[in-house]
């Protein structure tokens, strides 16, 4: 497939290794990958704060970067940015071109589970990993059944990773509780955000896993900051990095 990468500003600037792993793994899977230029922030810091006027220009700029780009899918390795982009594009532009872009947007895990599954892994990953079930992916993108919901359960995130030979998957206590990042919440509500992050980091470490693995780089960045502050024996990894290592 021809895939356009949507690399949100946070990944671009702070965790380029997540972008690289995403690109490499998609290429190893035989896809043609392009990076449309002119991408910027999805507008989430502003719309999350209620500031829609301030978000408009940024959001439309990002949308324009994808309008008219020839591709089968637009893939993003960051769940909350993807959700925000979808909602914000829709909010500010209702044109058929915008609809066409929205229809092609996929979060990486979602893409690998629903659209183009990985046929086989070439290596094994003999480690224990603790899954970071970030809120936006779980509750807004439907990557897994939230713990509050009763009835049949699904988990696309686990399903993609569980196929890796020798991997051991565990969950932290309160498995899908919010880590407390929440965009500007981390700054506005510093004390509560830090306490939530601390509890989450400790819950991951308490599983005895080598890595806390997630699909949302912003949550991972936050948890990583708490892990290092408390010198906990665990490291954070993005799902793309794990997958890229075994392909």
């Amino acid at each position: 497939m021809k895939i356009a990468l949507f690399i949100p500003c946070l990944v671009n600037q702070m965790v380029p290794e997540v972008g690289i792993a995403t690109l490499e793994l998609l290429e190893k899977l035989g896809h043609q990958v392009i990076l449309p230029s002119g991408q910027t922030c999805c507008g989430q810091p502003m719309t999350n704060s209620g500031c829609f006027n301030e978000a408009k220009k940024t959001t439309l700029k990002l949308l324009n970067a994808f309008k008219g780009v020839e591709c089968d899918a637009i893939v993003c390795p960051a769940a909350s940015c993807l959700v925000a982009a979808k909602e914000n594009f829709h909010e500010f532009d209702d044109s058929p071109e915008a609809q066409a872009v929205i229809a092609k947007l996929y979060e990486l895990t979602e893409f690998l589970h629903d659209v183009a599954p990985i046929p086989a892994f070439s290596k094994s990953f003999p480690h224990k990993i603790s899954l970071q079930m970030s809120c936006h992916g779980i509750r807004m993108l439907d990557l897994a059944t939230p713990s509050e919901q009763m009835g049949p359960r699904k988990n696309k995130f686990e399903a993609v990773l569980a196929a890796i030979p020798e991997i051991e998957i565990v969950y932290p206590d309160k498995l899908d509780e919010c880590c407390g990042f929440g965009g500007t919440f981390a700054v506005d509500e510093g004390a509560v955000s830090a306490k939530m992050g601390k509890d989450k980091a400790q819950a991951h470490a308490a599983t005895g896993a080598k890595y806390a693995v997630g699909f949302d780089p912003s949550c991972l960045l936050h948890i990583d900051g708490m892990v290092r502050r408390q010198k906990l024996p665990i490291e954070t990894r993005h799902i793309a990095q794990i997958l890229n290592a075994v392909l």
């Binding site: 380029p16 704060s49 309160k174 510093g190 509560v192 939530m196």
Partner: protein
């Protein structure tokens, strides 16, 4: 309420967070309720269907509110119940006082009413020489402690049993240092029994008002509402206009989810239906608007009125559990408190006391879209120019900045460089709340875009 910084949510939460072992204890106590709820909800195969029916039923009632309220009133009148209408808290309090004054009431026993809290009724009546005794154990505790409730179902959840022991020692004369819950509960029961027997009137909140029956339903675990309503001849029930449901079947749906979602019980110990005064007595129902009609005008805010006050969203909320009920600048805390209270919040901060994680919306038995409502409140506040935390100053800058690749690239380049070469201790003061609690990110060498140009360009 004052507009000073001291009422801002983040400020109060920071104070609450200073005692970490207390935060852990508080969080755990509430999470235990969430776990009980999960077990109770999971034991009913049709749980998700019940949520859907509950949601649709409440929405239907809210969109036909006038008809159902009129039907309710007419059936009440047939049942010999006197119905009063109050447009706001002040009118509610005046009506209650008039009824009580007419009967020369000096002492009222009260049970289960967040609405009377919302109307600030107790101080109003007390100023007029009427003693109001809250009879739910938790409510009595906070009344004796002269504090507002910190939770809508377990109002004294913030107090440890040792603290209750000290309070009872001081106010009720229990043994000094006693903290055994059984002993304390017995002492409270003894104390309340005297109050019940000497009260001239009883007052309760309303969990549901059944339109086609002209009846009100009151749910308690301690039976105190019934003690109250059955002893004196005069009984009053205060309800918000959103409490009406069409019929017994719809009330049954709520009865099945309410206690399960609140405490994990299959049903509250006492679910009493009142449909008329006792012999020779009087029964009054006061129907209160207090801003609810205004909320109904906004399609998104209107859904907050589907709430049945189970407290489930508070128990699951990771922010509420770690900041305590008193950090919200409103009588009702937590997600539902923000949903119904943000417009009254003069600090404009409670709408931001949320990570928008969405757990509350999924826990809710009537599918109140709490995260959506909270987000909507932020937008309304922003449009009204009422942003907290200096957002009105920095948001336009962030907006411009993010929209400009050059600005973004340059400054992020500098930031990356700074993270690399400056020692953390020098950077921390500049990175504000982030660096105060966390290690700063390890800076990469280049942006992904630059890497891509170099390696794939």
């Amino acid at each position: 309420m004052s507009t000073s910084k001291s009422n801002v949510h983040a400020h109060k939460a920071e104070i609450f967070c200073k005692d970490e072992s207390r935060v852990d204890w508080h969080s755990k106590a509430l999470w235990t309720l969430r776990e009980k709820r999960d077990r109770a909800a999971g034991s009913i195969p049709e749980w998700e269907q019940l949520r859907q029916i509950g949601s649709e039923m409440k929405l239907h009632t809210l969109t036909h509110l006038t008809e159902y309220l009129e039907e309710f009133e007419q059936n009440c009148i047939k049942n010999n119940i006197k119905v009063h209408w109050a447009k706001d808290g002040a009118e509610h309090n005046r009506i209650v006082h008039e009824i009580l004054a007419k009967h020369h009431v000096k002492k009222v026993v009260k049970s289960k009413s967040m609405l009377t809290e919302e109307c600030h009724m107790n101080p109003y009546l007390e100023e007029r020489g009427i003693e109001v005794i809250d009879t739910d154990l938790g409510e009595r505790i906070i009344q004796l402690a002269e504090m507002p409730p910190s939770h809508i179902v377990v109002p004294a959840i913030h107090m440890k049993k040792e603290e209750v022991g000290d309070l009872f020692h001081e106010k009720l004369g229990t043994n000094a240092g006693a903290s055994d819950p059984l002993y304390l509960t017995r002492a409270a029961r003894q104390h309340l029994r005297e109050k019940f027997l000497s009260a001239d009137a009883a007052m309760t909140g309303v969990n549901m008002a059944i339109a086609d029956q002209g009846a009100v339903v009151v749910c308690t675990n301690e039976g105190n509402a019934d003690m109250g309503a059955n002893l004196p001849k005069l009984q009053l029930h205060s309800m918000g206009i959103d409490k009406v449901v069409p019929n017994l079947e719809s009330a049954a749906v709520i009865l099945r989810t309410l206690a399960r979602n609140a405490t994990g019980q299959p049903i509250t110990t006492y679910s009493s239906f009142y449909r008329g005064p006792q012999d020779g007595g009087e029964m009054h129902v006061i129907i209160v608007d207090n801003g609810r009609t205004d909320m109904l005008k906004d399609k998104i805010l209107a859904e907050a009125l589907k709430c049945i006050r189970c407290g489930g969203c508070l128990n699951t909320c990771p922010v509420y559990r770690r900041s305590g009920g008193h950090s919200y600048n409103y009588t009702i805390p937590g997600p539902i408190g923000i949903a119904v209270g943000a417009q009254h919040d003069d600090t404009n901060s409670i709408a931001w006391a949320c990570t928008l994680c969405g757990s509350c919306s999924y826990v809710c038995p009537t599918k109140v879209p709490l995260d959506k409502i909270i987000h909507h409140h932020r937008r309304l506040k922003a449009e009204a120019g009422k942003l907290p935390y200096g957002k009105s100053n920095y948001m336009p800058l962030v907006g411009k900045f993010m929209a400009s690749e050059t600005a973004l690239n340059c400054s992020m380049g500098i930031a990356r460089m700074a993270l690399k070469i400056l020692p953390g201790s020098l950077l921390k003061p500049f990175s504000g709340a982030w660096g105060k609690y966390r290690e700063l990110p390890v800076a990469p060498n280049s942006s992904f875009e630059a890497w891509f140009k170099k390696n794939r360009g």
